[in-house]
Amino acid sequence: MNGVVRSAFGTRIWAFLFPAEISGDGTRRQYRGRGVLLWFVAGLLFSALGWTAGGFLGSWAPRTVCAVAATALALGLLNRRPGVALVGAVIAAVVSLAAVRIGESFFSPLLAWPVAGLVIGVMGAFAFRRRRARIAFIVSAPFLGSIGFLAGMIGTVLAAMGLEDSRVLAQFMLGGAGGFGFLLLAGAAIVGRWLDAARTAGGKS
């Protein structure tokens, strides 16, 4: 595949994921790649930093709670709703803590991640204007969060196996947390631009 074809192919995927926004006067504006990337990076970093910060408070439960709360916070802040961000972070933290505690005696504390995805999905859905976008985000958020978590975890394990380094392998849950935030906020950005496209990109999605 030569460079021109690859570029065209890439552009089509990008256009599918992030349709051109339509501003108030009906004109189409260029894709806002940087704005979208901000969501991806913020999801990854907030969740990973939350996980790391939770390590100062204890083990799996505080780490999970902090990562989930940080992801909810990132989503609210990117939607430019600091109040909702704070409330969302607290609710996500409380629910995920309960899920961890239940998971400790039933199946696994990892249950907290899809549950947290659902809570963040419900909280984040308020930022969408269109019903279809809200429903899509509520339905997809637990799956996106779980898939992101699994992908991040597997990616970290594979990297550790390649590097043969237990310091990297020890961080497989950090990789999972990063993947959770990354895919969840990526989902929010995609849903916002695809199903709620009339909104201003980079603003509330």
Partner: protein, 344 residues
């Protein structure tokens, strides 16, 4: 001379400095939050159980567990040298699967050793084990010990059980000895790293795969994070590269117990580390082996196992023993060890 109008808060150099500072701070916070800092292996005092400059190895044969232990400890010269290091001891048992002795350490044996330590003036002895994880509700760290009845028996006997998560990064300390040929650090459990006195209570058994046999050195697979165990199993499971035998020595180096007491009343032969797969229990061996030198103990026990297991020869233990001796963990050559054989 620069003027006020020339001042740029973020010229290239300033930006790079600020960036470097932020990066350094973030890295330090990340390394601290994730427990990534690597430390040297724990510093332990020299083997306190020596005679004429040679490490002492006591072999007690008998039927009565309590009497055997007492006679063995007397022959070692008593536990006073150990008591000088502290008043609390951490026991390391082998609880790799939910199968009774000799696959795992007998709880009655643990209680008998605890009683001897108490008699020597120790205020507390706890059993440490690191199998299982809280990430799986069906496999918590205390699961195997609970199924074996070890948890209840020891708790009721006054020996607290410290069953810890084998995956939790908060629980482990990364250590490295520059002399290791494998440069990567090992995550040893914080409790063992910080304990002034570790008493190792292994069983003697055949171990299919890279290790060939399990005793004082191999049992420290259970002292390190599951990540390290998985990595070496993945890298050299059959032991063909020789890395498995090196790494198990590094795991033992990260712990360095002050006293090793092998319960070889019965041994697991032909298979292992658990029952099944052709493994057979040989009873009536009736020996305890005590020493501060874990390499000497393994050297002796490899010969003992070879006497009872036609699938095992002493040569199969040599690579690990030689590597351990080269790292200064002890004496593999039994001519350099003072062996005391007694009957109780």
């Amino acid at each position: 001379m620069s003027t006020f109008s020339d001042f740029k808060p973020f010229d290239r150099r300033g930006f790079l400095r600020l960036g470097a500072s932020v990066l350094a701070t973030a890295s330090a916070g990340f390394a601290s939050g994730c427990g990534l800092a690597t430390r040297p292996c724990k510093s332990v005092p020299p083997n306190p159980f020596v005679s004429d400059g040679k490490p002492l190895l006591v072999v007690v044969e008998g039927e009565d567990m309590g009497a055997m232990l007492r006679r063995g400890i007397e022959a070692l010269g008593g536990l006073d040298p150990l008591a000088k290091l502290g008043r609390e001891a951490i026991f390391r048992g082998n609880y790799v699967m939910p199968q009774p002795y000799p696959v795992t350490t007998d709880p009655d044996f643990v209680l008998a050793v605890a009683a001897e330590l108490k008699h020597a003036g120790f205020s507390k002895s706890s059993l440490f084990d690191c199998t299982g994880t809280r990430l799986a509700a069906a496999l918590p760290p205390e699961h195997f010990m609970q199924r074996l009845g070890v948890l209840d028996k020891l708790t009721q006997g006054g020996v607290p059980v410290l069953a810890r998560d084998s995956f939790d990064p908060n629980e482990f300390v990364f250590v490295r000895n520059p002399a290791w040929p494998i440069a990567k650090p090992v995550a040893v459990h914080r409790i063992l790293y910080e304990a002034p006195i570790v008493v190792s209570l292994p069983v003697l058994k055949r171990h299919r795969g890279g290790a060939n046999f399990s005793c004082c050195l191999k049992m420290h697979f259970g002292s390190v994070a599951m990540d390290d165990r998985l990595l070496i199993h993945k890298k050299d499971d059959g032991g063909r590269l020789g890395l498995f035998q090196q790494r198990l020595v590094h795991f033992a180096d990260a712990v360095r117990p002050q006293l090793n007491v092998v319960d070889a009343r019965a041994i697991l032969t032909r298979g292992g580390p658990g029952l099944g797969g052709g493994a057979e229990i040989v009873r009536g061996v009736n020996k305890f082996i005590l020493s501060g030198d874990m390499v000497a103990v393994d050297s002796y026990c490899a010969r003992l196992l070879a006497q009872h297991d036609r699938t095992f020869t002493f040569d199969m233990a040599v690579p690990a023993l030689q590597h351990a001796a080269a790292l200064g963990l002890g004496k593999a050559d039994l001519d350099a060890v003072r062996i005391v054989e007694i009957h109780a």
